[in-house]
Subunit: 466 residues, 2 copies
């Protein structure tokens, strides 16, 4: 084996960095569970024809072939063509259809797994990346209050993470569609697609495109642009939309839904999460049917959204039964890998050990191992020094791993054993009883070190993960 170079788009974490990711996943998982969401894992492969349904992502799908089949030029293997899933929604929809007879509806699930896309890697965009999804799916029907519920859960979950402030920007397909319809625009979907270009093009060009491509009047185009500029942190958008003078039943429904989502999410948001109605949010408006959300992170707007989701009235269907769903996805890798690279997040140590039990001589390994086993029985992670080196060297061994304590077992006489423990950060060394000594809670497990000011209950997510 020769020198290894990293594989672009497939980032890997060092052990201390991995503690950050594990703690974040544990914190997310616990919040989802507290709200009654069950965890599932789906297989990572789906039949190609199911993955390729959307059309747009075709080129990004990784297809699997068995090596033998390929090498022998024998064409595809006899099994159906399989590809790696590129998100967690397609496999979840398939899971619901396949296992519907064994599930209880409404079915709340969370799923935290990698997904794969063969696109060009860049910061925040990887070929393998982990996502955390929460969805609620009903059979035949799914009342609107579940939109409020699932969005509040993700607000609660992200508010507990030691990451920069995130902003949930909500919109509603019914609101937009009703407004356009009330204005007299025929091709609503096409109009939405054009408005979506406001990110890249100046407003007057977008207005011109609405006239040329969608066939609106200049005045209709102007109203569409006015709608898209509405962005507020409360429910005052309702009055501002009404002031534009468009009347439509679907618009009314959309306004009421969006107001309820914004109000409920604001109530759980706290300081670390922003909640806005942003009527320019258009991503997915062509397939979502009600609530739509995109999540952005302060100072990391160049990553685009770090999460998103919405309501889909037909998440899945087997022809007879339709399963409506509402959900939101958080990009774990997209968020954490840039934050780790920037030093905003790091792990407090690369090993779980809180204690290194020192070794006097190789013959004394059993004595040191017995101390270690006693500590473990009281849930204190530890390891025994690999060699009976000079104590200074054993302390440096601990120091390089940020292990906070070194334990010494010294024969004080023929039958006398003296136990001492040293906090290598302060140098303080005290007598200790291996049957009762316990490190302070904060030293017990590795945790997240963050440069983000967190409220006191959230300085470490370590406890929450347990």
């Amino acid at each position: 084996m020769s020198k290894i170079s990293p594989l672009s788009g497939f980032p890997e974490l060092l052990p201390a960095q991995r503690t950050v990711e594990r703690d974040v996943i544990a914190s997310l998982s616990r919040t989802f569970e507290l709200h009654g969401f069950a965890n599932i894992e789906t297989r990572v492969v789906e039949p190609i024809d199911r993955l390729a349904k959307g059309g747009e992502v075709d080129k990004e799908i990784y297809v699997l072939q068995r090596l033998q089949a390929e090498r022998h030029g024998g064409g595809p293997a006899p099994t159906a063509e399989l590809g790696l899933h590129f998100d967690l929604t397609v496999p979840f929809a398939r899971y619901v259809l396949e296992h519907a007879g064994h599930l209880e509806f409404p079915f709340r699930r969370f799923q935290i797994q990698p997904a794969w896309r063969g696109e060009r890697p860049q910061e925040g965009r990887y070929r393998q990346f982990t996502q955390a999804d929460v969805d609620i799916v009903g059979r035949d029907e799914l009342p609107f209050h579940h939109d409020v519920e699932v969005m509040s859960v993700m607000v609660d979950a992200l508010g507990r993470l030691p990451i920069p402030r995130v902003s949930f920007q909500f919109n509603n397909r019914k609101l937009i569609q009703g407004f356009y319809r009330g204005l007299g625009i025929d091709d609503v979907t096409d109009a939405i697609r054009v408005i979506d270009k406001l990110d890249k093009l100046p407003a007057d060009e977008v207005a011109a495109m609405l006239v040329e491509r969608v066939g609106t009047t200049p005045e209709q185009a102007q109203r569409c642009l006015e709608l898209a500029t509405i962005r507020v942190e409360d429910t005052s958008f309702v009055e501002r939309v009404r002031a534009l003078g468009v009347a439509d039943d679907l618009l009314d429904e959309g306004l009421a839904e969006l107001a309820e989502v914004v109000e409920a999410c604001s109530a759980v948001a706290g300081d670390r999460v922003g909640v806005e109605a942003n009527l320019r949010i258009a991503r997915g408006l062509d397939y979502y049917t009600g609530t739509v959300v995109e999540v952005f992170m302060e100072g990391y707007e160049h990553l685009k959204s770090v999460g998103g989701g919405g309501r889909y009235d037909a998440l899945a269907s087997d022809g007879r039964t339709t399963y409506p769903g509402v959900g939101v996805s958080f990009g774990v890798s997209r968020t954490l890998i840039p934050l780790i690279a920037d030093g905003v997040l790091s792990g407090s140590r690369p090993v779980p050990s809180a204690v290194l039990v020192a070794l006097n001589a190789e013959e004394d390994r059993a004595a040191s191992a017995a101390v270690a086993q006693g500590l473990r029985e009281r849930d204190i992670a530890c390891e025994v020094a690999p060699t009976p080196a000079k104590f200074g060297k054993q302390i440096r061994f601990a120091d390089r791993r940020a292990i906070p304590y070194v334990w010494f077992v010294q024969a004080d006489g023929p039958d006398e054993v003296r136990h001492q423990v040293k906090d290598i950060r302060t140098g303080e060394q005290v007598d200790a009883d291996p049957a009762t000594w316990t490190p302070p809670e904060a030293d017990l497990r590795p945790g997240i070190v963050t440069t983000i000011p967190m409220p006191s209950t959230h300085t470490s997510t370590t406890e929450e993960n347990q």
Copy 2:
């Protein structure tokens, strides 16, 4: 979307079954951490030439191609050819080489991830399966006591799981090689391969093959067979091997090593794990260089081994530095999926919720949600009923999900609210204060229900996972 059939070899768990897998993974992880092992995750892909090095597994490797590249007949994508890893050892060896400059040695790591093999599916053999690996890797050298350590850790970890009794069967490559060499057999590796056939062929046929294929004398063949019959639960194998009258330095070293491993593992094994020296164990003897182990599960011997591992003096090498390693792998899917299918293991409920907060009327949703939020703040998972159905129907809703408690919020007067909680298993309904009521520990989280008699400290792994 039409009817969905399962994909052979890619088993998926229902939500309650998934709690079993999560609890087992959490228990394994915690034991590994208590022994100072750091968790890592590697990307799931490796370059084909690295995966195919072994030769034997070629046909089982899944190769990735981007859909576009394939569809357009443009040959492989411009990036290196990638395949899914088929175990966790190849990616770990690559991780060590790639990140060596950022790791501290000896490096203890555990890794719990899926792997993929395109082989024919059968019970216990899947195309996607999860493994749990622990390894210790050194730079240039790795003292033998780490063999003892890593094997003891897995004994400790499996002894804590609610699974049938497992048996660790140890052998040692030095012992076997030294014995054969001392006997005067030249081609030791070939002789080992023939002895490995004792599983499938009668002893006299194996003896004949040793004479014909390896060129031993009939007497040498007889001694090899005698060695292979030695299988004991203590260190008495040392005397029995010596009684065969073969003298060799490497044999002595192997005997001493095996005795030490058996002794140390027996000391931590308890009742739920068997430890044996079994001199017939030959799997991997061609690439392992010292300790070898295979793990079997009582009543499930038809699965073959549920775990295995050993010592490899050159886990990885970059040409200048060699990284010796020792490790053992446990087949999580291979073990759990048959146990779940047989009803030996199940989850206590398919949802994390311990409480369903009942709903009087849709207008009262906020009141019920407030109770739920209060319970969550005290780490009690709960959900609010989806509709204000009759209470009998709401109780059946909880019952179908095995949620043990239903909470009622009743207006007793204009400003009087009465809270009651019902244990739906006993029917007992009592007044309760949402600010202080807590369910018994055993009801707080879903756990594993097992038909295996477990010692009292291990009836549920739920607590250990936290």
